[in-house]
């Protein structure tokens, strides 16, 4: 595997059973600008009378609904700008997806 071209660091996190776990990883370029994100999907969640099967945080940490919901096992989204460029089961796979999208795009 080539060394990742972006610098990835922990984004927002959530407390989970006494531990904090990253909900997203932010990929920055050499100048430190955030270029890509990989985000953990959450859900299903209940809000009032509706059930959202899949949700994630956008860059402003707003909960956004994903439509159509991704297939089972695709728990991480790779995002560049506001755009979802791919999905993966595991965060490192999503990171590779994001970088590959940058390379080809």
């Amino acid at each position: 595997m080539p060394t990742p071209r972006l610098h990835w660091m922990r984004g927002r996190a959530e407390a989970e059973g006494g531990e904090t776990r990253a909900l997203e990883w932010i990929g920055c370029d050499d100048a430190g600008a955030a270029i890509a994100r990989v985000v953990r999907l959450q859900g299903p969640i209940h809000t009032g009378w509706r059930l959202y099967r899949a949700v994630a945080l956008d860059t402003e940490a707003r909960v956004v609904q994903l439509r159509p919901p991704p297939p089972a096992g695709a728990d991480w989204l790779a995002c560049i700008g506001g755009q979802v460029v791919g999905r993966a089961a595991l965060p490192l796979q999503a990171v590779r997806t994001a970088e590959a999208a940058l390379g080809t795009g």
Partner: protein, 693 residues
């Protein structure tokens, strides 16, 4: 023996489908750990092989309840986990006392129905597991296909830590994906010699691909490890191992290793993995104390942490009688115990003095002077401690397990082949019943036959086999029968006078007894309400004895009578002619007469049956259970498998395993355990009574 720190102890079980190689793997483990233990001690090249041969002959280690071995400065206690559902309580208890398990599947067939059953049992206790794909030397073995059955049949995230080098008879070693190297076994010396090597060229590509999968999956459980990876493009071996261990304990994924125990390849790295990834006693949350009567089994309760300085607490999980006497195997959860100490048996409420203590090794039993939290030892000479009992310090008398009342649901009649061995057989069976609370012994009043009751056919077969091997008694056995019970449905008052005039002194006794039905599981309750000495005190025990003996042979079909209360309210006696015997006879007859008028009924054991079947066969399975008088309780799906739970009379479950197999082409499996007793329907009661007449 020097004291082993807690983090260097592993209490593990090895579970497998029958024939998958549990025994062979255990033997190899004991052999290799024995070798490493002896290095520097014995220099003669042949000694180790001889020792292996002897072991084979005696086979003691494998039949021991727990055997201790040393590997790279750690102590591994291997706890025997019986693999059959007939031993439900024992399986459950052994799963409780271990902290982790090696789950063996076969390289040819992969996961088989019984492996599924064992897997789910281990799931219930959240046992951390490593998977070992064995028999890769066999023709037709395929690591990748066997691996796929893990996902298909068990619906788990399995993750290879190794890849095989070569297939079938060319299988020569494994690629270690954690350290990215090959491990190659040399011929000879039963596989004790092996060395590291570079990964073969033709496997390099595949190894990289699987290494990436390993990193992707393992690092995702630990953000700090992810950062290390982003920083350096890889992680240190220690980091990767830390992630694998955490995920093994949480069950986030299940690490998979491979080899061939029989051809002596792959066992040593399996032992390394036990040390690296399975938890020590301090890596697990500690045993929960038992629920109070009526409290929810799953409720949060105090846990006993593994701390050698805390008050002592331990669980007796197995009792074995061998030629040295009675050995009680105890898993110590907290505190330290020295021989000579006093402890409380909190299950039964008496004190026990700890005599000699041992740890069982492959080649010897090692006497120890003390045992501490996290470890396992066998105690000699406990007076009155049964399996499942808690031993605890008086200052913190915790109870770790509620007393279970296993209900033996299958009867067989037993008869010694020779008249001379009647007494030997009785003694042997009484000893065996003392070790095993799920075994019961009684004598049928009418036929005089000895009836043995147990949890299942296999359970009873094993007992008969042990009777032969350990007590030298060969016995003929009858066909297995459902252990029916009898009870009554209404109250009745019965008076019986026993009067006999034979030449000299006669016999005289009269009793007046009220018989009343009790709720299910009410047992047999006696009350004495005699006033004014109409039945003298000294004869009361004779009345009790008469009823107890007679109740073992019920009036309808000769099955034990349960769930009733009898109250002695009045009677008559004669100064000269009354005797204990006369009152016993009167009580027996009063029972027989009274029962007939009290609306006697036959009860049958109803089993809690859990069938795991692929979706496509659910219809057949449910239809068939209905035909067996089953009441479906619920259906749950997990992935593409459906779990059907039903209450089914045991009578209808004879031969179920083969019917289920043919109905589902061998893809479904089931477990069952006793749930409750219910009255049998009229037509079946008639059938049972005709048979017994």
């Amino acid at each position: 023996m020097s004291e082993t720190p807690l983090d260097k102890i592993r209490n593990i079980g090895i579970t497998a489908h029958i024939d998958a190689g549990k025994t062979t793997t255990t033997e190899r483990i004991l052999y290799y750990t024995g070798v490493s233990h002896r290095i520097g001690e014995v220099h003669d090249g042949n000694t180790t092989t001889d020792y292996m041969e002897q072991e084979r002959e005696r086979g003691i280690t494998i039949t021991s309840a727990a055997v201790t071995c040393e590997w790279k400065g750690h102590r591994i206690n291997i706890i025997d986990t019986p693999g059959h559902i007939d031993f439900n309580i024992e399986v459950n208890r052994s799963l409780r006392v271990l902290d982790g398990a090696v789950f063996i599947i076969e390289g040819v067939a992969g996961v088989q129905p019984q492996s599924e059953t064992n897997w789910r049992l281990a799931d219930r206790y959240n046992v951390p597991r490593l998977i070992f794909i064995n028999k890769l030397d066999r023709t037709g073995a395929d690591f990748y296909r066997a691996f796929d059955t893990l996902k298909e049949k068990l619906d788990i995230v399995a993750l290879p830590l190794q890849l095989p080098i070569g297939v079938e008879d060319q299988f020569s070693g494994v690629v270690d994906l954690v350290e990215m190297k090959a491990i190659i076994w040399e011929g000879g010396e039963l596989g004790a010699k092996y060395h590291d090597a570079p990964i073969p060229d033709d496997l390099l590509e595949k190894a990289r691909e699987y290494r990436q999968l390993l990193l992707d999956t393992a690092l995702s459980v630990d953000d700090a490890a992810m950062e290390e990876y982003f920083e350096a493009g890889d992680v240190a071996t220690a980091t990767l191992k830390r992630c694998i261990k955490a995920a093994t304990i949480s069950g986030a994924f299940r690490p998979v290793l491979c080899g061939t125990a029989f051809k002596n390849k792959g066992v040593q790295p399996l032992l390394d993995a036990v040390l690296d990834y399975l938890p020590s006693p301090i890596d697990v949350p500690g045993i929960k104390i038992a629920a109070e009567e009526g409290e929810d089994e799953h409720a949060e309760r105090r846990r006993i942490k593994a701390d050698p300085k805390a008050p002592f607490a331990g669980l007796a999980f197995k009792i074995i009688n061998d030629k040295y006497g009675t050995l009680t195997f105890v898993r110590v959860y907290a505190g330290t115990l020295r021989s000579g100490d006093m402890v409380q048996n909190t299950t039964r409420g008496h004190r026990e003095r700890i005599g000699r203590m041992f740890q069982m090794h492959a080649d010897k039993r090692a006497e120890i002077k003390e045992v501490s939290a996290g470890d396992i030892a066998a105690f000699v000479g406990l007076k009155d401690t049964m399996t499942g009992d808690t031993l605890a310090a008086a200052e913190d008398p915790v109870v770790l397990e509620r007393m279970a009342f296993p209900v033996p649901v299958i009867d067989i009649s037993v008869e010694p082949r020779t008249k001379e061995s009647v007494e030997k057989m009785t003694i042997g069976l009484q000893k065996l019943a003392g070790e095993d609370p799920s075994l019961r012994l009684r004598t049928d009043q009418e036929s005089g036959q000895t009836i043995l009751s147990g949890m299942g056919e296999l359970h009873l077969e094993i007992i008969i086999d042990r009777l032969k091997r350990e007590y030298g008694v060969e016995a003929n056995i009858g066909a297995p029968q459902v252990a029916y019970r009898e009870t009554i449905s209404r109250a009745v008052t019965e008076t019986y006078t026993h009067k006999k005039q034979t030449g000299g002194s006669g016999q005289y006794a009269e009793v007046k007894i009220v018989f009343e039905p009790l709720e299910r599981n009410g047992g047999v309750v006696f009350e004495n309400k005699v006033v004014g000495g109409s039945v003298p005190r000294e004869y009361i025990p004779a009345v009790e004895k008469g009823i107890r003996v007679q109740a073992d042979t019920g009036v309808l079909a000769g099955f034990p009578t349960v769930d009733f209360k009898y109250t002695l309210i009045d009677g008559k006696y004669h100064d000269v002619d009354s005797s204990a015997l006369a009152f016993e006879i009167a009580a027996k007859a009063c029972f027989r007469e009274g029962m007939k008028k009290a609306g006697p009924i036959i009860l049958e054991p109803i089993m809690d049956v859990e069938v795991t079947t692929p979706q496509d066969h659910v219809g057949d399975v449910v239809g068939d259970l209905n035909r067996r008088r089953g009441m479906i309780q619920n259906q749950e799906s997990s992935g593409s498998t459906i779990i059907v739970r039903a209450h089914v009379p045991l009578k209808e479950m004879f031969g179920y395993i083969s019917d289920l197999r043919s109905m589902t082409k061998g893809r479904a499996s089931f477990t069952m355990q006793f749930h409750h007793y219910d009255p049998v329907p009229r037509n079946i009661a008639d059938e049972i009574m005709t048979k017994s007449a």
